[in-house]
């Protein structure tokens, strides 16, 4: 274990029904970086992220987050979690949603203005979430995760359905957050987002194919395109 690991996972095994979702995953996530969790849909990305935030039943293995076992009460004010499906209230306005989460987190109302600006949703503060597009809903959900200025942000596909300009803006935001020491673990199934990450975890069928920087992966496989990198890693295995 290195001194700078924000997350340390050892032999994490998750079984759902009789399906083994994660057969035994080990990895570390470096503090103050953006780590991309990439893999096709159904590869176990969401399950892995849920285990880190402590809402996933795990069969065995250990998950340490910021020096505490995942799910500890001490971690709850230090982790921001954005679920894959936007977990905000559809029958409330954007502002009402964020004010609610700010109250629960004991944050001042100024925090609501801050996160609305961060996700570029100031204009929509008074709109009902049910009336928003999928991408806008996702940004409200992301804004709620940013409220407490957490040390660790766990984001499950935060950029799905967003237009390229917004996606670029959000990735810039993620990098700004690392400058103030935040660790980000971001899942995606879009390979072109991989280049924006400091480190990549490539997951397939619950197994970690690689854990390296984008540059290292290119060198290792001799491929330029990250899609091809992924393919050649799978071929190596089989």
């Amino acid at each position: 274990m290195t001194a700078t690991a924000a997350i340390t996972v050892v032999d994490l095994r998750v079984v759902r029904g009789d399906a083994v979702v994660l057969p035994g995953l080990s990895c570390e996530v470096e503090a103050g970086s953006v780590t991309g969790l990439l893999g096709p849909s159904g590869s176990g990305k969401s399950t892995f992220l849920r285990a880190i935030v402590g809402v996933q039943k795990v069969e065995s293995g250990s998950v340490d987050v910021l020096g505490h076992p995942a799910g500890s009460a001490a971690l709850r004010s230090r982790i921001g979690y954005m679920t894959q499906a936007p977990s905000v209230y559809g029958d409330l306005t954007v502002g009402e949603n964020l004010v609610f989460f700010a109250r629960v987190l004991d944050m001042p109302e100024a925090a609501v203005d801050r996160v609305l600006a961060e996700v570029a949703m100031e204009e929509s503060r008074g709109r009902l979430v049910n009336r928003l597009s999928g991408g806008q809903r996702a940004r409200v959900s992301l804004a709620a995760a940013l409220l407490a200025e957490p040390d660790l942000l766990v984001l499950d596909e935060p950029t799905v359905g967003l237009d390229p300009v917004l996606r670029r803006d959000l990735w810039e935001l993620f990098h700004r957050l690392t400058e103030r020491g935040t660790t980000l673990l971001v899942s995606s199934h879009v390979m072109d987002e991989a280049d924006r990450c400091h480190a990549l975890l490539l997951l397939r069928e619950g197994t970690l194919l690689a854990h390296a920087t984008p540059a290292e992966l290119r060198r290792q496989t001799g491929k330029e395109n990250l899609e091809d990198v992924f393919l050649s890693l799978i071929e190596e295995r089989t």
Binding site: G17, V55, G71, Y81, Y89, V104, L105
Partner: protein
């Protein structure tokens, strides 16, 4: 338990309800219509309306709040927002208590309107104090909503949640003493009756109707109702799981 978070949850639930005026109209309007039907069916001065009317002031809120709360809580469970809440620094009981407080506020409105209608316009005579009828009707509603919160844990869909109403509520209504007095029930039925919380809620209202409230049994009724509400909140919180499969 945190007052701040309980309050935040209660305000949020009320904010969501405010966006759904049709549900509010149904919550308040349906018991009123049923009371009018009851009075018209038996007649203003009939012993049936006069005997059954007061307990009904508690039963209608009990049923509607049970339904509304169990479906609302189920929505929270299935929409993913509960999963987010579980990662936040709050206690599970804060969520359940927040829901309880929000629906208690709705219950106050509902029970007050229905009681005013029955005691005023419909001419229901209550020997005991009228304010006590309103308080007990609210207690019935809160009991219904906390039971609904608890039961929602066992439903996976809204369809199932609705089915819990006949399963959990109707036996309590049948056995509470309204249809057959408890001392005339078969022993085993009486034993079940004494184990069900609605029996005590019904008995308290029936005693208020006949101004039988200085009796020690009235105090016991009230204690059991309050205890059942607290127990249902605790069980409701216990059935919320931070970790799910």
């Amino acid at each position: 338990m945190s007052m701040r978070i309980t309050r935040a949850v209660a305000l949020r639930v009320l904010g969501q309800l405010r966006r759904d005026p049709r549900t509010i109209a149904l919550i308040v309007g349906v018991p009123c219509v049923l009371m009018v039907l009851l009075q018209q069916l038996f007649g203003r001065h009939s012993p049936v309306f006069q005997d059954v009317g007061t307990p009904m002031l508690g039963l209608f809120p009990f049923i509607t709040m049970f339904l509304v709360t169990s479906v609302t809580m189920l929505r929270e469970r299935t929409s993913g927002t509960l999963e987010r809440l579980m990662t936040l620094p709050l206690h599970k009981i804060d969520i359940v208590a927040g829901y309880g407080v929000a629906f208690a506020v709705v219950a106050v409105v509902q029970a007050t309107v229905v009681s005013l209608l029955a005691l005023g316009l419909l001419g229901l005579d209550v020997a005991g104090p009228n304010w006590l009828v309103v308080v007990l009707a609210v207690a019935n509603a809160v009991l219904g909503s906390t039971l609904g919160l608890f039961v929602s844990a066992f439903a996976e869909t809204e369809f199932q949640a609705v089915q819990f109403m006949p399963a959990v509520v109707l036996p309590q209504i049948l056995l509470c003493g309204l249809f057959v007095a408890r001392d005339q029930m078969a022993t085993w039925l009486r034993a079940i009756s004494y184990a069900l919380p609605l029996t005590y809620a019904y008995d308290a209202l029936a005693r208020t109707a006949t101004n039988d409230v200085s009796d020690v049994w009235f105090a016991i009724d009230c204690l059991v109702v309050v205890g059942s509400i607290a127990l249902a909140i605790a069980l409701g919180a216990a059935t919320l799981r931070r970790r799910t499969a």
